[in-house]
């Protein structure tokens, strides 16, 4: 596989995906690379068979076809064996890989003190983020809400986000982390990830949400723990909320205010 990867940038797909800077993105790349490898193999077999048949069994070279219904036991055994071979060499392998990755990483939400929790509420067409502040509770006076579309996270720290939406369905898509998660009205969904490299990255909305869906862009800054803390400290806490609501009671110039939900404990 490694060799195939070197022959072409991006393997069989010619173009490289965005740089993976996450802890677990390599798992997704690995599943994709294995699938690349096996489907290339099987497709090559099909193409070779086709070319061979065209060359060997065209009507000029082979004017008389053999009378064969392919309905004998040996044929059945052969085709079923091929079916099972495909199933066990492709499906079972990627399924095992995928299950393992889900169990070890994507569905294995980190717990404990050093986890950074963020609430995300997209709206048409912007991203709202909320940090819990010192008390580690959402919906309290010391919550920190940076300006729209700005998200900072510390490097090498697990980040858990919970999402719901202000209006229609959006999808929080981090190309550099290989992940995305829908935000659907009426429900809170969750996702976690961990950055391994500092830098500036982009957040996109992956689910069609209206005419400006294409420019619903967020800016993700991955920085060191200290930079992150000082950034967070430099922001004014949101202050008192009288009317607290899951999706915001008021709107000031299109920006919803006083939205938050109590952090949902998962599993």
């Amino acid at each position: 596989m490694g060799k195939i990867k070197k022959l072409l940038p991006g393997g069989i797909w010619f173009l490289d995906p965005p740089k993976d800077i996450s802890l677990d993105g390599y798992r997704i790349d690995k599943v994709i690379q294995y699938t690349d490898f096996v489907i290339t193999l099987y497709f090559a077999i099909v193409v070779i068979a086709l070319v061979f048949f065209i060359w060997r069994y065209n009507s000029r070279k082979n004017p008389k076809a053999s009378y064969d219904h392919g309905n004998q036991k040996k044929h059945l055994i052969m085709t079923v064996a091929m079916g099972l071979l495909v199933f066990f060499s492709i499906d079972v392998v990627i399924e095992t890989m995928s299950f393992k990755d889900l169990k070890e990483a994507f569905w294995n939400f980190p717990k404990g003190k050093d986890v950074v929790r963020i609430e995300v509420m997209p709206q048409q067409y912007a991203w709202n983020f909320r940090y819990a502040g010192e008390d580690e509770l959402f919906g309290t006076d010391d919550d920190i809400v940076p300006s729209q579309n700005i998200m900072h996270i510390p490097v090498n720290t697990p980040i858990v986000i919970q999402l719901t939406t202000y209006d229609v369905i959006h999808s929080f898509y981090l190309p550099n982390f290989r992940i995305k998660q829908d935000a659907t009205p009426g429900m809170v969904t969750a996702m976690w990830f961990q950055a391994m490299e500092t830098g500036q990255y982009e957040i996109a909305c992956a689910e069609l949400c209206g005419n400006s869906h294409f420019k619903m862009k967020g800016y993700l800054t991955v920085e060191s723990e200290e930079d992150f803390d000082s950034w967070l400290g430099s922001l004014e806490p949101e202050g008192t909320k009288d009317e607290l609501d899951d999706w915001g009671a008021e709107e000031v110039e299109g920006v919803p205010e006083f939205w938050a939900w109590a952090w949902k404990e998962l599993k």
């Binding site: 173009l15 965005p18 497709f43 069994y57 064969d68 079916g83 969904t189 982009e202 005419n211």
Partner: protein
């Protein structure tokens, strides 16, 4: 023959052959319409915000200086998807060939319920008119995607006007028409098979169309239920699919629509592709002059897939926040489909093996289905797997993948079917030279377009975005997007050639003999034009549909009506 008036004979005809042709012309019209929309989409993706040139009918966007605006772009892909699936593929494969082939191939005089058949077409026609009219609404047609997810597709979602309601209404009407057709096809196959035409002697085309109809009869009502609820939300202000801030008081569940949509939506994929599988299986046998390899196994595999297809819809919803258990179950079930799929795929290769291959245009189109469906099927693995789908979901990769399985396979299947049965439908041959040029042009450019769509998707480009250059991580894909667009434009050019070939052959094509392909099935047993009622006397069937190169016959084929005496 008593003569019927023009209205009875050509417009409100109950003759399945006429209705089949009506569906064909109807479908081709919409295919061109949706195809043209695809060209505009591609223009915008390659040159975002630049005026559409005159040769792509830039004057349509006169009001905005020739530029497609974001709303217009959303309307384009919404309508492109809707039209291609429901008003192009459905009428051509199921409407036209279902109608034309089923009675002829099983030896029936017509459909079981000819009047219902006629009503089905005109309901379909009406639904198409409603859809077309929606383009002239003051606020424009629907723009919420072909999936029309609420709450975006509801009044609170921000799409102005009645476009979304028109969309829902027209798709519901289309569903009603499909339903009538499905009842007809199912019963026709059960009741009107000629003497000797057992289920195991039916051509695989009929098997495919029959299984498609069964899926339609079961799952179209499911989407109908969802669409009725959506329509009530859109027009009466109920809140079945509204939640959160947009739901004043009450509130329902937007996710429920996704479930209902995909419970229908996944079988719909097979509804569209099953007729092609059947047709391909038959045509491979005819042009290899060899019996279809593992006929029974192929039809059993197709039936197995029909059953499996109804329990895998969740693979479209991995990123919605599905419970881990459900996610795993849907992944496992989806991957199971690859067993029957690969079995009948190998049967296709088995048919070619040791055959005597004749590369007439229908065979070229048919063999290319093996190619495109192979690629389409294999790339489905990425989307069936939860983890890789988390990355690839809602990207151009998915778009490329389903264009391979649906657009490419169904188009080539449709081209093959049209080329093969053109002499039966119109009494003339489709010009072979033009067909071959069209084949090669389409095959090459189509692969360039759809494969590279997957490439840009793998490189991260999400779908349904008006302007990829908004994002820095998509900057490196700009050249590829331009390349895809030019390939698509050339692909479009070749379809103009096809249209020319179709019309030219209709008028000036070589007059066909009764059975130009030396095929064994019943539709080739009578002279052109096939009369209303098809058969002088209902034929007796003696054997299966693929008796080619039987050593006990003088020629290399034995019609189903001729008994083979073993020597």
């Amino acid at each position: 023959m008593h003569s019927e008036s023009f209205w009875r004979k050509d417009i409100f005809s109950t003759d399945h052959k006429t209705i089949g042709k009506q569906f064909l012309f109807f479908g081709i019209f919409f295919l061109l319409f949706g195809g043209f929309q695809a060209m505009l989409l591609r223009w915008q993706l390659a040159y975002p915000g630049q005026p559409v040139p005159w040769w792509l009918m830039g004057f349509l966007y006169e009001g905005t200086g020739g530029i497609i605006d974001p709303d217009g772009f959303n309307r384009l892909f919404t309508m492109h998807g809707t039209i291609m699936i429901f008003w192009a593929i459905t009428p051509i494969l199921i409407g036209a060939f279902g109608n034309f082939l089923i009675p002829l191939q099983i030896g029936a005089r017509d459909m079981a319920f000819p009047t219902l058949n006629m009503i089905s077409f005109w309901t379909f026609f009406l639904s198409g008119v409603v859809l077309l009219l929606s383009h002239f609404l003051p606020a424009g047609s629907a723009s919420g995607g072909w999936t029309s997810y609420p709450p975006l597709s509801l009044p609170g979602g921000g799409i102005p006007g009645l476009g979304q309601a028109f969309w829902t209404l027209s798709v519901t009407l289309m569903g009603a028409a499909t339903m009538m057709g499905a009842i007809n096809y199912i019963i026709t196959v059960i009741r009107l098979r000629a003497p000797g035409m057992t289920y195991w002697r039916m051509p695989l085309s009929v098997w495919g169309l029959w299984l498609t109809s069964i899926l339609n009869a079961i799952f179209v009502p499911v989407i109908a239920a969802g669409l009725i609820m959506l329509l009530l939300d859109q027009l009466l202000g109920t809140q079945f699919f509204v939640a959160g801030r947009l739901a004043a008081g009450g509130g329902g569940d937007p996710l429920l629509f996704q479930h209902v949509f995909w419970i229908f939506g996944h079988p719909e994929v097979y509804i569209l592709i099953l007729p092609v599988w059947g047709i391909v299986s038959d045509l491979l046998a005819i042009y290899s002059r060899k019996p279809a390899f593992g006929y029974k196994v192929t039809s059993i595999c197709m039936s197995t897939i029909v059953v499996l297809s109804s329990i895998v819809w969740g693979h479209h919803m991995y990123t919605t926040g599905m419970s881990p258990l459900l996610g795993k179950a849907f992944m496992f079930l989806t991957l199971l489909i690859s067993i029957p799929s690969s079995i009948f795929f190998f049967n296709w290769l088995g048919t070619l093996w040791r055959g005597s291959l004749h590369f007439d245009p229908p065979m070229l189109y048919t063999m290319s289905v093996i190619w495109v469906f192979g690629l389409g099927g294999l790339t489905g693995l990425y989307n069936a797997t939860v983890t890789s789908d988390i990355y690839l979901h809602d990207t151009m990769f998915v778009v490329g993948h389903f264009h391979y399985t649906l657009a490419a396979s169904v188009l080539f299947g449709g081209f093959a079917a049209i080329a093969h049965w053109f002499p039966r439908m119109f009494g003339r041959m489709l010009n072979p030279l033009m067909s071959k040029i069209h084949f090669w042009g389409t095959f090459i450019t189509l692969n360039l377009v759809f494969f590279n769509m997957m490439v840009v998707g793998y490189a991260g480009q999400h779908r349904r975005i008006y302007n990829p250059s908004e994002y820095e991580f998509l900057q490196p894909l700009a050249d590829m997007n331009v390349f895809i667009t030019y390939a698509a434009l050339v692909l479009g050019l070749f379809q103009i050639l096809y249209l020319f070939n179709f019309v030219w052959s209709l008028v000036k094509g070589k007059v066909a003999e009764t059975n130009p392909w030396r095929a064994t099935t019943l539709e080739w047993t009578m002279d052109y034009p096939i009369p209303h009622g098809n058969f002088g006397e209902i034929p007796q069937v003696y054997h299966g549909p693929h008796e080619y190169s039987n050593p006990n016959t003088d020629q290399d084929w034995a019609p189903q009506t001729v008994e083979i005496k073993s020597s």
